[in-house]
């Protein structure tokens, strides 16, 4: 008897488990008849662990507990629960274990594997932490599915054949994702995807608490009861009502206008994300057929307004928006298992972070180390393969370290290191530099294979990176040392140069392809000029760079 086809939505505030059977995906309920299980942990009076609704209740009553650990996935933060010290993945594992038990009770059979969703914008450390959490809970992860893609699958499977461009905006408890998809003839195709892993409904509650505390001129209380009251007030105010909040001795009246003012920076971040996704997908305002809002915090009218304005189409709340991600995960489990009912559906996803390697750039005699050279760009449909040619830095060099990085920044120290392969059989050539071809192949489920071929001999080396958890070499020391070394006084530190450099750097991470190369090249020239310290040449190159930056900003067509 095969394992049931199960999908799990592991959310910041609430989690959900769904099963795909008899041609539909449906959520499973717990003993209280609820589908949404709060991602909360608490200790009861005897010191035993409680998970879910009970834990949430205890926290609302003011007793200690753990609720927001998803944003800390992938970090080394230790969370405390009573006398216990937990890592974020351990906390998630406890929630997953509870969901697994619940599913087994409902289905009457063992559940050993599941599709688990993650925010699309989760990077390598966060995905690895999610996989670790699943392993700790006794679950094998069939696939880590991006949340907006899951929502899109749940939505897209029910649509007809006609092409549609759909924007899926997922505002959960702690994370924000936007994915733009094209649906046609049973194909669900991701065109662009971005998000913010620290922006969710809870952050709006935080903003409300901060604003209210400032207004009342008191310190914001941190207990769970107050937080629950604030959450309740936020909901009331969002739907147009008024609410009052008690802070110590003061009562603060909240209304919509004030909430908007307090949440303005968050809204700006939302806008920025949405615009980036539209740029990636090459979709303009008015180019959408549907704009769907999903996620627990999607009910906020603020989100709907922002989305409608930027997309040029009225955003609608997806029906059953609490369950849509979980159902999509279950559907993906079905797709993965080649369920006959889903034979006419195909989902293609894209790479959410650029993959590349570390190189040394040489510009007019100056050598600039640790520059990131992209090989597989963000937004490439998976499976993807690409290769680039690199040369040895010195003549007669016989070995080369090919390090694999994930990220968008120009310096590898700002990106995430995934692994490394060292080749040491490059023929010793004193007359010329040797060339090496590096090929990256990334499949649909997260396996990256690196092939390195030495051009003159044709010998190849291979490295497979499973994206689970290769232990990293301690390069932190190196990185820290370099950061300190960069603090020396230098014309670079002059304010206008620094600003231009920062701005250009940021623009590089937002662009791709030939435009990115062009900007990168000019930025390298600028850095080389700054190294020389010659004011005239710095000036000249700076003007050139300034021109390019202005042009690129105008190409992007948005105020960044």
């Amino acid at each position: 008897m095969t394992s049931p086809l199960v999908g799990i939505d592991l959310g910041t505030t609430n989690s959900l488990v769904c099963v795909y059977e008899e041609g539909t995906a449906r959520p499973l309920t717990d003993d209280l008849g609820h589908t949404m299980i709060p991602s909360a942990l608490a200790l009861d009076d005897e010191g035993h662990l409680t998970v879910g609704a009970i834990a949430r209740e205890r926290m609302a009553a003011g007793l200690p507990g753990l609720a927001r650990f998803k944003p800390f996935m992938g970090t080394d933060r230790t969370l405390s629960l009573g006398d216990h010290r937990l890592r974020p993945e351990e906390a998630s594992a406890l929630v997953l274990r509870e969901l697994k038990a619940m599913a087994e009770r409902r289905l009457g059979t063992t559940v050993s594997e599941a599709v688990v969703t993650v925010p699309a914008w989760f990077g390598e450390p966060q995905r690895r932490a999610t996989l670790d959490a699943a392993v700790l809970a006794g679950l094998q992860v069939t696939q880590l599915l991006n949340e907006p893609t899951a929502a899109a699958i749940a939505y897209g499977v029910e649509q007809g054949d006609d092409p549609q461009v759909v924007g899926v905006i997922d505002l959960g408890g702690g994370t924000f994702d936007i994915t733009i998809l094209e649906l046609f003839d049973g194909v669900v195709e991701v065109m662009g995807s971005t998000g913010d892993t620290h922006l969710g409904g809870e952050d709006f509650t935080d903003a409300l608490i901060r604003g209210a505390a400032e207004q009342a001129r008191v310190q914001a209380p941190t207990d769970g009861a107050f937080r629950a009251a604030a959450e309740h007030a936020k909901r009331r105010v969002c739907s147009g009502g008024e609410a009052t909040l008690q802070l110590g001795a003061t009562t603060v009246t909240l209304d919509e206008a004030r909430l908007r003012a307090w949440c303005a920076p968050l809204v700006a971040r939302l806008e920025r994300c949405i615009r980036e996704a539209m740029f990636q997908a090459k979709v303009r305002a008015g180019g959408f057929d549907r704009v769907l809002l999903v996620g627990g915090a999607a009910r906020m009218p603020l989100l709907g307004e922002v989305a409608s304005r930027l997309c040029g189409r009225d955003a609608e709340l997806a029906g059953d928006l609490d369950h849509v991600v979980g159902r999509g995960a279950a559907l993906q489990a079905g797709l993965h298992a080649r369920h006959w009912a889903l034979s006419e559906v195909l989902v293609t996803d894209v790479l959410t972070h650029t993959l590349g390697t570390s190189t040394t750039r040489s510009h007019g005699g100056m050598e600039l180390y640790d520059r990131f050279s992209p090989i597989l760009s963000r937004g490439t449909t998976l499976p993807a393969t690409a290769r680039q040619r690199y040369w040895t830095l010195r003549k007669g060099q016989t070995f080369m370290d090919i390090e694999v990085y994930e990220g968008e920044a120009r310096h590898v120290r700002d990106n995430t290191r995934l692994g490394q392969i060292t080749i040491d059989d490059i023929p010793e050539n004193q007359d010329d530099h040797e060339a090496v071809w590096v090929r990256f192949t990334h499949d649909v489920s997260g396996l990256l294979v690196v092939d390195v071929e030495v051009e003159s001999t044709g010998k190849t080396h291979e490295l497979a990176i499973e994206r689970t958890g290769r232990s990293l070499r301690p390069s932190d020391l190196e990185a820290a040392r370099r950061r300190l070394a960069a603090l020396r006084i230098h014309p670079r530190e002059l304010l206008p140069n620094k600003f231009l450099w920062e701005r250009a750097n940021r623009l590089v991470t937002l662009t791709s392809g030939p435009l990115r190369e062009h900007l990168d090249h000019q930025l390298t020239a600028f850095e080389a000029a700054m190294e020389t310290g010659d004011a005239d040449s710095i000036d000249q190159v700076r003007r050139l760079l300034q021109r390019t930056v202005t042009q690129v900003q105008d190409e992007l067509g948005m105020e960044l």
């Binding site: 003839d185 499976p383 290769r387 499949d443």
Partner: protein, 435 residues
């Protein structure tokens, strides 16, 4: 449209979207349908190599549609085949699943290189060749095209043009700026300073170019005064000093007729002087001499009389406008648009435009100008913005050139004034086609 399912070998042999999709490649809808059918057979997790190849062709065709090109002309990218399929040096490290082997084969089916945006290429080429003329024209076209497409008012577009114009001006660009200001989509977003600056510079240069007593070389050199470090600027002054003719008489003429031009020169001198008080850059003896000659006007205060005269002129213009408008009501059928009336209107509209660009009005005549303009327009039976647009001697209506590119080169001002989108697109297409 390809209705038969393509077999695997056929798929892998196809080099262009047309080969694989046939007629379906030309229509976005049929293309997607054809791709969907094939992709469900050659699925990404079953047959990654075939899917990749299919995907490459699909994306190439989609990109071609986006640009409006014929998809048959676009070919999926190819990379040279490797020499031999060598033995791997050892089993791959601890991978939970077996890594795919399909990628070791002929990499000719790798994902295609992303296509270049031709506009970016041209901008890069123009920039590298320092061909400001071409770059400027391209930017204008791009800007004005986008102004039609974007729903939002695009002041930043005009600002970018203004910034370029502020440094590299031609007299014809004055009209372009004025057109921008009256374009229905233009919205001053607090960037009036740049525009005003550019407008001012442009008008000075235009006036100087039209003045027979100002030598031809002077406006060009004045533009050069903005460029380069201080040694270069001093050398430019030296060149101005060596312009044939009576320099003293020229300076006097400038002082009375084009005080702004003179202040342009004196400002450069002031800057150099300030620096000379500190470190001494590499200035030659000649440069110092040039500096001293032009520094002379620094000691002549800009006459109070001149300022008074200018105010009188502006006030007077306002008064004359009021009188003329009243008279025009009667004289319209007889006088029509005589040169004098147009000159007055020109002056009046300039004031109005400057006031608008500045975003605020400081003297009564600024605030009166819009009202006067509106009155005049009403009397003439037109709208204020139309009137503002009709500043040039040539009429606008009924102008449909056969060859937009030639027309643009001959008379850019009139061409841009048309703001005719189809015409634009044609010109754009022509320019982008050029090698």
């Amino acid at each position: 449209m390809t209705t038969d399912l393509v077999d695997r070998q056929q798929l892998m042999d196809s080099r262009t979207p047309a080969h694989l999709f046939g007629d379906a490649a030309h229509d976005p809808r049929s293309l997607r349908r054809a791709y969907a059918r094939l992709a469900k057979v050659y699925r990404p997790d079953d047959d990654p190599e075939a899917f990749q190849h299919l995907r490459g062709l699909f994306e190439a065709a989609k990109e071609a549609h986006r640009r409006g090109e014929a998809p048959a002309a676009v070919e999926a990218g190819t990379t040279p085949a490797p020499r031999q399929e060598p033995d791997p040096t050892g089993p791959p490290e601890a991978a939970r699943r077996r890594p795919p082997t399909w990628n070791k084969q002929d990499p000719a089916h790798a994902t295609p290189k992303p296509a270049h945006d031709p506009l970016i290429d041209r901008l890069i080429a123009a920039q590298q060749s320092d061909d400001w003329h071409t770059q400027l024209r391209l930017l204008h076209l791009h800007a004005l095209r986008l102004m039609e497409e974007r729903p939002r008012p695009t002041a930043w577009m005009a600002v970018r043009i203004a910034r370029h114009l502020a440094h590299h001006l031609e007299p014809v660009d004055l009209e372009l700026l004025q057109m921008l200001l009256v374009h229905p989509r233009f919205d001053d977003a607090g960037q009036g300073e740049h525009l005003e600056h550019a407008l001012r510079r442009a008008s000075w240069l235009k006036a100087a170019a039209a003045d027979p007593r100002v030598p031809d070389a002077l406006p060009t050199e004045l533009l050069a005064l903005q460029e380069g470090g201080l040694p270069e600027r001093a050398r430019t002054l030296a060149r101005i000093r060596d312009i044939p003719g009576d320099l003293t008489a020229l300076l006097d003429h400038l002082e009375w007729n084009h005080p702004d031009l003179l202040s342009w020169i004196t400002q450069a001198c002031r800057e150099i002087e300030e620096v000379l008080e500190g470190d001494v850059p590499a200035l030659s003896v000649d440069d110092h001499k040039a500096l001293r000659i032009f520094a002379r006007p620094l000691h002549l205060p800009l006459g109070r009389n001149q300022r008074v005269l200018r105010h009188v002129f502006e006030w007077g213009t306002g008064l004359m406008c009021g009188v003329t408008v009243a008279a025009m009501g009667r004289l319209r059928s007889v006088v029509g648009t005589t040169l004098i009336v147009r000159w007055i209107l020109h002056g009046m509209v300039n004031i109005y435009l400057k006031g608008r660009a500045r975003g605020r009005t400081t003297s009564p005549v600024w605030s009166d100008a819009p009202r006067v303009l509106a009155q005049a327009a009403r009397r003439l039976g037109t709208t204020p913005s139309c009137l503002a647009r009709q500043l040039a001697p040539e009429p606008l209506d009924g102008w449909t050139p056969d060859d937009p590119l030639v027309a643009f080169q001959q008379d850019p001002a009139s061409f841009l004034r048309c703001l005719d989108t189809p015409l634009y697109d044609r010109l754009d297409a022509q320019l982008l086609e050029r090698p």
